[in-house]
């Protein structure tokens, strides 16, 4: 502990320590950023007629994960093709990654999963580096975060958004398969009692009230145009305060009475399970672009893997309506099943595997 003497040497040692610290911290940051990326889920907007894209399988309106998908048949020709399916690091993504992986296995592929890659930036880099074959991405996230579109430029129709994103991906040697029926978006959520107290139904209703209310969201929300920045810019709202919190706490802060408003996701299972407690405000100016999930893969992999690759993925996701996705999210987030179990239950209930 004698630091007093030999100052130059000490300074050098400290400098090295500081650099090591800096590297350590940024490494930690990378890890935790993954949790915040969950919010990107919200980027994707929702509403539209998305069910029609899934088109061909008429049987699949699927209530509880459930109706008739065609059973996937294993093609022996696929056995020599190895695929690694990735995902970002929050439950919904992991469930999707597992669904795709298990479906591809059922189709005879030598498929494995590499989930929890972190934020979309990390996932995309991993894909481009060839370490994964593909991963599910929200079309709106791709358009805003990767291709620089303003939220208002994101087409509201799922097919148009997918086509636009796909055109951009193709320039990068990638390709995106057709979108899922369900879509996910950020939403301004609050306790039902608060909504009744101020008579709030839409985000526009916050005008004149928001100065009295605190808004909690993921740290990145503050600057994002599909979050706080958008609420300020397009709705002209000013809040009493914005507080950043871990995405996991988005309901806790409401329950604790700390937050008047909290940024939630439309696919949150809690919204369905506790609809008498939590409500979301209608995004009447379409500031939060809704995103259907598109499976992004490299053109090279898609070519080598043959036609079953695309067909399996587009078939198996056709039963994923908002209701089904919420139910699957609930299995993982509320009932503590693993994404793997939830995915297997879906595939079986929907009849894709026996």
């Amino acid at each position: 502990m004698r630091f007093n003497q030999k100052k130059p040497l000490m300074a050098l040692v400290m400098l090295i320590a500081a650099l090591a610290l800096a590297v350590g911290i940024s490494a930690c940051g990378g890890g935790s950023s993954s949790s915040s990326s969950e919010s990107t889920e919200a980027e994707a907007p929702a509403t539209e007629e998305t069910t029609e894209e899934t088109g061909e399988e008429p049987a699949e309106e699927s209530e509880e994960g459930g109706s008739g998908g065609e059973a996937i048949t294993a093609n022996p020709a696929n056995e020599k093709v190895s695929l690694t399916i990735g995902s970002k690091n929050f439950p919904e993504q992991e469930i999707l990654g597992e669904i795709y992986t298990q479906a591809l296995q059922a189709a005879g592929y030598n498929a494995k999963s590499d989930l929890s890659l972190g934020s979309e930036t990390v996932a995309l880099k991993t894909l481009k580096a060839g370490k994964i074959s593909g991963y599910p991405e929200y079309a709106s996230t791709a358009l805003t975060a990767f291709f620089g579109l303003e939220p208002e430029e994101v087409p509201s129709g799922a097919t148009q958004a997918w086509e636009k994103a796909n055109a951009e991906f193709e320039k990068e040697g990638l390709t995106a398969f057709k979108p899922t029926p369900f879509e996910s978006a950020n939403a301004v959520g609050l306790l039902k009692s608060t909504a009744e107290k101020y008579n709030l139904k839409t985000i526009s209703d916050l005008k004149g009230v928001s100065e009295k209310l605190s808004l909690y969201g993921s740290p990145e929300c503050e600057e994002r145009i599909d979050c706080l920045a958008g609420l300020e810019k397009y709705y002209g709202l000013k809040f009493k305060e914005f507080k950043p919190v871990d995405i996991e706490l988005r309901y806790t802060v409401l329950e604790k009475g700390q937050a008047d408003l909290s940024i939630l996701f439309t696919t949150d299972p809690k919204l369905a399970a506790e609809s008498d407690k939590f409500v979301i405000l209608e995004d009447d100016k379409d500031v939060f672009p809704a995103g259907n999930v598109i499976f992004v893969t490299s053109q090279k992999v898609a070519e080598e893997a043959g036609p079953d690759y695309q067909k399996t993925i587009e078939d198996v996701q056709s039963g994923l309506t908002l209701k089904v996705m919420q139910e699957l999210d609930a299995r993982v987030e509320l009932e503590r099943q693993t994404p793997k179990e939830a995915a297997a239950a879906y595939l079986e209930a929907a009849g894709y595997v026996e």
């Binding site: 935790s32 620089g148 740290p219 145009i225």
Partner: protein
Amino acid sequence: MSALALHPLTAGFGGAVEFIFHKQVSNVTGGHKVGGFEQVLELALRQIEVSVVALAIAIVVALPIGLYFGHKGTGEALAIGLGNATRAVPELAAIALVAAVVGVGFWPLVAVLSLLGIPPILTNAFTGIRQVDRPTVDAARGIGMTEPELLRKVEMPMAVPSIMGGIRTASINIIATATIAPLAGVLTLGNFIINENVYGANGVLAGAIVVAVIALIFEFALAGMQRQLTSRGLRLQAQ
């Protein structure tokens, strides 16, 4: 576009320095720029604020306990055990727990951070006092010093290097961990590090650099303080 072209390794040091002094374009903010000196300074000050408060609380709590038990020569299991036990609690888990029970915000965060600073201060104060040369203490007692005098005039001065070592370790722990504060309601420099989506690789590196600089400043300040507190005799001995 830019996010696709950006790679953390190629972004480099220059980009991070640029981020600290000039606002930059981000592709998720709808046009308004992020970073720049004003924002960096604001977050840095907040990081320093929570760190100083947490460190002060840790010292106020841990130092008297460590000194007392060190002087009494008892409670070793308690002092060391408590120190080690709290060290085993992962801060993220602690923050999540506190958030679930108390809530998020400045004070819950400070509570967790000071919890992090307590073990090194407590353990070092205890062992520092225990390791003071026993014959010296006995001699002091022999010339008629009271127990409080013994602690203040003999044991504490001789234990300064160890005590300050504990405080310095605690300060580094606290400053480094304060980067996760944006997950608990307080915007610190960790905001740049956590949100690569918004601030880019430049922001991540800039955040890390500024945190490291703050840690260095604290380290030097505490080292200077230690030098002031160390008695002349000990300093000569150290040479």
